[in-house]
Symmetry: C2
Subunit: 356 residues, 2 copies
């Protein structure tokens, strides 16, 4: 049904590759990219792997004006056996299509998207870095390309995948960060676009990040848009709190991004018989737990950092130090297990990884 | 201080112009465009008028991923005297810069932006259509262009202005529309990006529009993101209600776009000694006024339609017909006066218009 016989045009000369040890996040790009077009009269067509190259668009293209776009982020890992494997790409493809539905963008056939990711990574396999902690970041995205200034869903789109070799997130070992509670700006509200992975959510969040960066905070903790009482996310990660032996994360209420790492954390905790609950949790509850000495750990979860321990949570003049600014046992175990599965260092009992 | 000696490169061959009578909105574009670049080390530089042409961007450009972008919309009008004039462009430039601040985009010198708009319109003066109700739509916008996948403000931008001759909004006379109250999706919430003119607000609103279009509704009426009780906007316009002789519009609370037409409506009403109030107004209050027979008029205001009378407001199974589906006297007077000022048919006592 769906086109999977992509045409492949390879580069004549490969780019020099950056040193695995010098890699940053999202600055280097591989030799090839995947592009597929959509027209309302034709559906998705002309999937192709081509040399990495600029995109040429009419200045009236709707992406530049009304932001109709979705994206995904996942990684390919070099295993010690010399294989390359993906971590839960099926989850990303399903989420891409859920985001598409929210943003009125035509969905993409699951198998076709999976094949596009696999074939592109395969063509650029020698770009998957091998140094400890490094990986190949995969960025699928869709943009509205119709040249039209009316506010309406676009009749034309491009689905693009680019690849970026990225460095170890923790170059000097996993390291707890300071987080400031954001009480002015709002990331998302129920009925908005918070649960879709779409550009506007990120553009709107920059100002809060800027506000606290000078004071040494790595990220902000987002509160709900209704009452500014309940915890939503931390920076662009999901967030977990371990209180009195129970791990709690905000339930997916419509304004929270359903993270793939979030889901994997919950699955792992359940498999270890550590109590884990998805529910509404207020900042007051966190404060109270901290006062009682029951706030044992806090951490963010996301594709980039996997697990990012929170060592301090600041709100107004209150600074709550968590676990003496040290990485907690559960955070550490989650990080270790998740990365060992991702890099193929241990058995994958969940069938999360897919060989390319 | 700011560069105003733009280089101008004119087309060799002008495009054929569409028939003034056949014009739609935002589908045709003129012969030239304005482009200016920004780099964090250089500021805004190289402002230039060039032939209308595609933009070429790296596929990692931040606009495609994190939606850091703002835009404006204003119009140039052909007057009966043969002049071309702009309507309150100063308001648009000030708002562009307020949007820039919210979206962490570097602001643009006021005089430079004004000069860019004037010079571009002047170069494409023969594109300003002359048929009744037609105009030249001006779309300034800024996009983040740095090729980087980190979530942070871009270090590079492009400021672009394109022009589009547009047809009369009301081809068969001003015509009241049916509006559906939206009770599932939310356009914006205080602390979000609602008061900035940025892409994400529009992308997020498409789904609500799609939902009601099949049932014959032209737009949705947006309620507040906190309680879904208070009126915010209608479609992509501001909204006014005339209740018992008083005209009421939602106060600018942080989630409502501060419309230039909205401001002009308020100014005109004040000049006519018609009571006008900016305050919070609930859907319940509208319903009650309707029941009492005191909801005399309702209308949207925006650059495209100027005034768009609301003939019916639907909520669940309730259909409130307003003024027998006819354009109200105040709506009509506002539309007539505003358009007469825009087209130079009457004296402009407010100094709103600027000759190009």
């Amino acid at each position: 049904m769906a086109q999977k016989d992509f045409t492949i045009t390879k580069v004549m000369t490969k780019k020099p590759k950056p040193d695995d040890q010098e890699l940053e996040f999202g600055k280097h790009f591989t030799d090839h990219m995947f592009v597929m077009d959509y027209h309302i009269d034709k559906g998705w067509y002309d999937g192709r792997i081509i040399p990495y190259q600029p995109i040429t668009l009419d200045p009236a293209s709707m992406i530049f004006h009304y932001g109709q776009t979705v994206f995904e982020g996942l990684k390919a890992y070099s295993t010690s056996k010399g294989d390359v494997q993906l971590f839960r790409p099926d989850e990303n493809i399903h989420r891409l299509n859920r985001s598409n539905e929210r943003m009125c963008i035509p969905t993409i056939d699951f198998d076709l998207a999976m094949e596009a990711i696999k074939q592109l990574v395969s063509v650029d396999k020698d770009w998957v870095p091998k140094a400890k902690g490094t990986s190949l970041y995969i960025r699928p995205y869709i943009i509205a390309t119709e040249p039209y200034l009316g506010v309406a869903p676009s009749k034309q789109y491009k689905f693009i995948i680019i690849l970026s070799p990225v460095g170890a997130y923790y170059k000097e070992g996993i390291n707890p960060v300071k987080i400031a509670v954001e009480n002015e700006y709002i990331r998302a509200v129920e009925g908005g676009t918070g649960e879709a992975k779409t550009a506007g959510n990120y553009a709107g969040s920059l100002i809060a990040q800027e506000k606290v960066a000078d004071d040494g905070y790595a990220q902000v903790l987002w509160l709900d848009g209704h009452e500014k009482r309940y915890i939503e996310e931390v920076g662009s990660m999901n967030v977990f709190f371990k209180i009195n032996g129970e791990v709690i994360t905000p339930a997916l209420n419509g304004s929270i991004l359903p993270g793939v790492t979030r889901k994997s954390v919950i699955d792992l905790l359940k498999s270890w018989d550590i109590p884990v609950t998805e529910r509404r949790i207020s900042l007051d509850e966190i404060k109270e737990a901290h006062q009682k000495g029951q706030l044992e750990e806090a951490f963010g979860s996301g594709t980039a950092a996997v697990i990012s321990p929170i060592g301090e949570l600041a709100f107004n003049q209150v600074h709550m130090v968590i676990n003496d600014m040290k990485t907690g046992d559960v955070s550490k175990r989650l990080y270790d297990t998740m990365t060992q599965i991702q890099y193929g260092d241990i058995e994958d009992p969940f069938d999360w990884t897919i060989r390319v």
